[in-house]
């Protein structure tokens, strides 16, 4: 047992007080002349024995109470096994590790676990003596390291500095393991010459922080350091509801092309949750009972999960992003995982000129029949593409620059001035899409339109009997094909091509293959031409050479190609990113400076890498939410108009690690076993103890003084009872 305030033991001398008071009382008893004194004598004699017993009992009770109070003030502590305390007056080196992982945002009462941890650490730091050293670090910092701002190089006696470092710790959305922090702390303490070395770890003891348990017992022993773990959750289980997974896609199997959202909600508590509201929010708008919003309810038994699906119409905006969120009825808890963000490609209005190179009196035999319906399926699908279909005779009457995109579908030739106009249109930033067919003459295309299309070779046939060619494995990294990742990719292979055009092998540079056939021949090629782009589909957009137009994949593919070409495709990077992970997106356009705006309001430039392929990399993903990327400077150095536009060039979603939503706590025994039982103290928040400076809360142990005080109170209560009781 250890006494934290041993000087108060002098109070034991107070046991003599009742006796002294009694003796003084006798001396000061007033003299009173009384006639019936014989009766006093007789009554005293009568109850003499009981009176003596009562006096003795009172003496014992009073002395006992004084003794217990004196002992309680001395603050005895029944120390935990193995934890040594430095003699009072010894100096110490202390490292304070604050767990600021995502789960520490858990709110209990008026504050979060992190705020409570910082407050407790503040008390301990404030109690350090001038000769004590300290260091404050967080399990995660904004800089990505373990130290906090302002950065300190090592242990310091500057208490104000320590408090400043502590204040600088901010909540994070990371799921961070504890072990690196402990290793860092031990490396700091190894260099200390102080008599007592301690590590204070303020954490909620969730299993996630100890995912990679490491045997540090020897390290602690080697450093002669002690570890005090302060449980910010005070031993209480932490219940939580969270959206742990979200899938978002366009459902191409449905003709209405709705957005499909599939949210997985988990109940990490022992309570049965009924009627949990799950709703969808588009963009930054709150949910309304309008178009594109939905909500539903879930019933979640304890420790279970459920899936909520939504099929939504798009809200009709250029950029699609939103979140699915759950609305809890109870206050507090962990709210950051109550929503999960998603992004989807969308479109802007665009005008498309379709030149039907093979018109027919039979509508369905027109080259543009399927193409026009794919571009604007009217009631069957929401499209912002406004096609204008003309026949070759009408070419002279149109101006290409009036359109966002020009599609030449199986066009034999153009008037020479229109070729020049088209070429100029493309070079100045316009877009053109060529599909081929029986009307296409290789020589004409290679000469007159050679600046706009890759060199054609010849048309080849693949007999129907052999099944024809199909579209090959998809490289869904291309913006055109990203939406076909997952289930949709299988649909691509369902189409058959019986005749295709081969192209000459192209030198690397301005031409790239976007889509290939099953035999490896290019099906869709992209070519840059000045400021513009062109794409070439090496088959037909009607049923002459392929059954693609009647396949479900035709419509989205045509739309994606057109949107991409016209620059209206909000190119969405790869899927979901977890906080802290890098987000990368291949770049296919000319160089441009980018700006990233994160959910925290920070603006920064992403990095660009060249190998193995050119891509934009965003590594600063500290916050969950939607990250907006804008192009700010064009390749020629001038500002890009969209910088001023509220609509970003692309977006991606960052979400918290769902593993951190599970707030199950680690078994303390297991923890102590891996960290070394002899040197680890583990107790509730504000655990008892006292050491240097007599400050409590530094050592795990059983505080005896509350027990002593309660017992003393009991004795005093008994004393009052005995005093009030008449022995007769």
């Amino acid at each position: 047992m250890h006494l934290l305030n041993p000087l108060f033991l002098l109070g034991i001398l107070g046991v003599a007080l009742p006796v002294l008071i009694h003796l003084m009382g006798r001396r000061r008893a007033p003299l009173y002349h009384f006639a019936a004194i014989d009766f006093i004598l007789r009554s005293q004699k009568r109850i003499e024995a009981r009176l003596k017993l009562q006096h003795l009992l009172l003496l014992l009770l009073r002395a006992g109470a004084i003794l217990l109070i004196a002992l309680a003030l001395a603050k005895p502590l029944l120390q935990e096994r193995g934890l040594a305390l430095a003699p009072i007056g010894a100096s110490s080196s202390n490292v304070f590790i604050i767990d600021n992982s995502f789960s520490m945002n858990y709110q209990t009462g008026e504050s979060t676990l992190l705020a409570q941890a910082k407050a407790r650490a503040r008390e301990i730091i404030a109690s350090l003596s001038p000769s004590d050293e300290g260091y404050v670090l967080a399990t995660h910092s904004a800089s990505g390291g373990l130290s906090v701002r302002p950065r300190r190089s090592g242990l310091t006696s500057d208490r104000a500095g320590l408090l400043e470092s502590l204040d600088g710790i901010v909540p994070s959305f990371y799921s961070t393991p504890i072990n690196p922090s402990l290793e860092k702390a031990l490396s700091l303490l190894n260099g200390s010459k102080k008599e007592l070395k301690r590590v204070f770890l303020f954490t909620d003891l969730t299993q996630n922080s100890w995912r990679e348990p490491q045997d540090l017992a020897d390290s602690f022993k080697e450093a002669a350091a002690f570890l005090h773990i302060i449980d910010t959750a005070q031993g209480q289980p932490l219940s939580n509801l969270a959206i742990t997974a979200l899938e978002s896609s366009y459902d191409w199997t449905r003709k209405d092309g709705k957005v499909h959202l599939k949210a997985t909600v988990q109940n990490f508590s022992d309570a049965h949750v009924r009627d949990l509201l799950v709703r969808v929010r588009w963009g930054d708008r709150p949910t309304t009972n309008g178009k594109g919003t939905a909500q539903g309810f879930l019933d979640l038994p304890p420790r279970s999960q459920a899936v909520k699906e939504f099929f939504l119409d798009t809200p009709g905006e250029a950029v699609l992003w939103g979140c699915v969120e759950i609305v809890e009825s109870a206050d507090g808890g962990l709210v950051a995982d109550n929503q999960r963000y998603f992004t989807l490609p969308s479109v802007k209005d665009m005008s498309v000129l379709v030149i039907d190179g093979a018109p027919s009196i039979y509508l369905y035999q027109c080259e543009s029949f399927y193409l026009e319906r794919a571009l604007n399926p009217a009631r069957l699908h929401h499209s912002y593409i406004k096609p204008t279909v003309i026949i070759p005779k009408e070419i002279p009457s149109v101006r290409f620059k009036d359109f966002d995109l020009v599609i030449l579908a199986n066009v034999e030739e153009l008037p020479s001035q229109k070729v020049a106009e088209l070429t100029s249109y493309v070079k100045e930033g316009g877009r053109v899409l060529f599909s081929l067919g029986n009307n296409v003459r290789t020589e004409y295309y290679n000469t007159s339109l050679g600046e706009l299309v890759p060199k054609l070779r010849m048309a080849v046939e693949s007999p129907k009997e052999s099944g024809g060619l199909s579209l090959g494995p998809l490289d869904t990294s291309h913006p055109v094909l990203r939406v076909f990742a997952g289930e949709s990719s299988a649909l691509m292979g369902a189409s058959n091509f019986y005749k295709v055009f081969l192209v000459e092998p192209q030198a690397t540079g301005s031409v790239s293959t976007v889509l290939s056939y099953s035999n490896g021949a290019p099906a869709l090629l992209e070519m840059s031409c000045g400021k513009g782009r062109s794409m070439l589909f090496t088959s037909t957009f009607d049923r002459d050479w392929t059954d693609l137009p009647v396949k479900p994949i035709f419509l989205p593919l045509i739309q994606q190609i057109c949107l991409y070409l016209a620059g209206n495709l909000i190119e969405v990077g790869p899927g979901e990113v977890i906080v802290g992970q890098e987000w990368e997106m291949p770049l296919f356009q000319e160089d441009a400076s980018m700006e990233v705006l994160d959910p925290g309001g920070n603006l920064f430039s992403p990095s660009i890498k060249s190998h193995p392929s050119r891509a934009m990399v965003v590594s600063q993903t500290d916050y969950p939410g939607i990250y907006r990327i804008k192009r700010v400077v064009s390749a020629s150095g001038g500002p890009v108009a969209e910088r001023q536009s509220p609509v970003p060039w692309t977006v991606f979603a960052v979400n918290v690690d769902p593993r951190e939503s599970d707030l199950s706590r680690i078994d303390p025994a297991q923890l102590r076993s891996s960290l070394g039982e002899e040197r680890v103290g583990l107790g509730p928040f504000g655990v008892a103890g006292g050491t240097v400076g007599g400050h409590e809360g530094l050592v795990a142990g059983l505080r005896l003084w509350p027990i002593l005080l309660v017992t003393a109170l009991g004795l005093l209560t008994m004393e009052s009872f005995v005093v009030g009781r008449k022995p007769s």
């Binding site: 009173y32 006639a35 004194i37 005293q44 009568r46």
Partner: protein, 305 residues
């Protein structure tokens, strides 16, 4: 001689008492013993015996018939036929000097005795006084009973200025008194009776056995009855040097039990010996004490008819 100061004489109380005279009680006694009248002056006398004439004796009492027969001068000696011969025995021991209120027990007893003297003398009863206590000089402690109207002053003079002192020696006084006057009398004892209860009872029994009417006024202070003290106190006896340190709160119950036992013993003793017993609290007005006593005696007298 300086007239004694009458301390508490309540004329209103006295007028009430005159309706309930002691005479009523003793009418019965008087019928047995003889005829009792209530004259204010002149009384019928009863021939007791002859005494040879000595010079100086009153000649009106010469028995002429005896002179005619014997040619010698003899005086007739008569017994005064009074209503009552009363003795007031007043305890002046040290314990009687205690008082928590306006009057000490002695002052209360003195005043009560004075009332009784007045009432009795008004009814031409002879009243005598015996003061006992170590502080009383031998010569001034006894006044023989007389019925004369001027006897009141003598009595009041003896009652005036009494000091409570020493031990009471009550049992000795009672024993001695039994020998003093063999004639049947009313004996009124005014005391706190802080003495050997058994001995006192025995002596009172002796008095009763001589056919005396005994009335006992036990006078106690309210503090002696209730023992209302609180803090630790050093109690000092009022009759000797005895001291005791006591916690009143602790012993109050036992004290009251002891006192109750003492009072019960006295009451039982009086009951057995047909002694009128009155426990008087000095906080009780004197006229109430007297009225209560007289009313009880009146009822007793009515029941006796």
């Amino acid at each position: 001689m300086k007239k004694p100061e009458v301390k508490t004489f309540d004329p209103a109380a006295l007028s009430k008492i005159s309706d309930l005279s002691l005479r009523a009680r003793y009418v019965v006694e008087g019928t047995l013993a003889g005829i009792h009248k209530s004259p204010h002056k002149g009384s019928s006398i009863e021939f007791l015996e002859h005494k040879e004439y000595s010079p100086g004796d009153e000649i009106k009492h010469i028995d002429w018939k005896v002179l005619g027969r014997s040619d010698k001068y003899y005086l007739k000696q008569f017994e005064d036929e009074t209503n009552l011969r009363a003795y007031l025995l007043l305890d002046t021991s040290g314990s009687m000097g205690y008082g928590s209120g306006a009057m000490t027990k002695l002052e209360y007893a003195t005043t009560l005795a004075a009332c009784l003297c007045y009432l009795l003398l008004t009814q031409s009863d002879a009243v005598g006084l015996l003061l006992f206590g170590e502080g009383v000089p031998a010569s001034g402690g006894y006044i023989p009973p007389r019925a004369k109207s001027n006897h009141l002053q003598v009595l009041l003079g003896a009652l005036h200025g009494l000091k409570a002192q020493g031990k009471s020696r009550l049992t000795h006084v009672l024993g001695d008194f039994a020998e003093r006057d063999p004639r049947r009398s009313l004996i009124v004892l005014l005391s706190d009776l802080f003495d050997d209860v058994r001995e006192v009872s025995s002596r009172l029994k002796q008095l009763r056995q001589r056919n005396n009417e005994v009335v006992l006024f036990q006078i106690l202070d309210s503090y002696e009855l209730e023992f209302p003290f609180g803090e630790l106190t050093l109690f000092q006896s009022m009759e000797d040097t005895t001291q005791v340190l006591a916690e009143p709160r602790a012993i109050r119950g036992a004290y009251q039990a002891e006192l109750a036992r003492f009072l019960e013993e006295i009451r039982q003793g009086c009951l057995e010996n047909q002694i009128d017993y009155w426990l008087v609290n000095t906080s009780t007005p004197i006229d109430r004490a007297l009225l209560g006593y007289l009313a009880t005696r009146e009822r007793f007298h009515q029941r006796s008819k």
